[in-house]
């Protein structure tokens, strides 16, 4: 089995591309959980069961983190386009 036989297999390429995307999404979930667990669960003391409040906090944490990322990305792109 040579490397070129791996690279020339369209079905395998499709599979690897799909797995790569899946892996990126999983990595992002690890990253978000890492941040939001500190904000919403660890800091609030109770570990016995997730409260409704903690659950809502986790959901909001994901949404606001992504808003934040998009805002920063857009502003940075604008800045680059304006040549500043």
């Amino acid at each position: 089995m040579s490397l070129s036989s791996l690279a020339n297999d369209p079905e395998l390429q499709k599979f690897v591309a799909a797995k790569e995307l899946e892996n990126q999404l999983t990595t992002q979930v690890h990253h978000l959980t890492n941040i939001c667990f500190d904000k919403c669960v660890e800091s609030s003391g109770s570990l016995s069961d997730l409260s409704a409040k903690q659950t809502t906090c986790l959901q909001n944490c994901v949404e606001r983190f992504l808003d934040c990322t998009m805002l920063i990305t857009n502003r940075t792109v604008q800045r680059i386009q304006q040549g500043r």
Partner: protein
Amino acid sequence: MSLDTQKLDVNQRQQIMTSVQQQLAIQNAQELLQKLSDKCFKACIQKPGSTLSSSEQKCISQCSDRYMDAWNIVSRAYAERIKRESNRH
């Protein structure tokens, strides 16, 4: 293995796919274990003593359960956001 080395046969392809899948699953599990250890050590072990006390052990198991709960909630919220964003464009 076939004489035509440029082409994979069905079994070879399947073998590679299974191996890729397994490697990703291992990587994912390692990442999760690493995060669980970090978070729950920080949350539960204030002053490391000569053994893990029973209250520390209880805290660690609760903390691990909550981290997994949080992982699932975050995963769902993230998936929904991606779905919403892709509908918007």
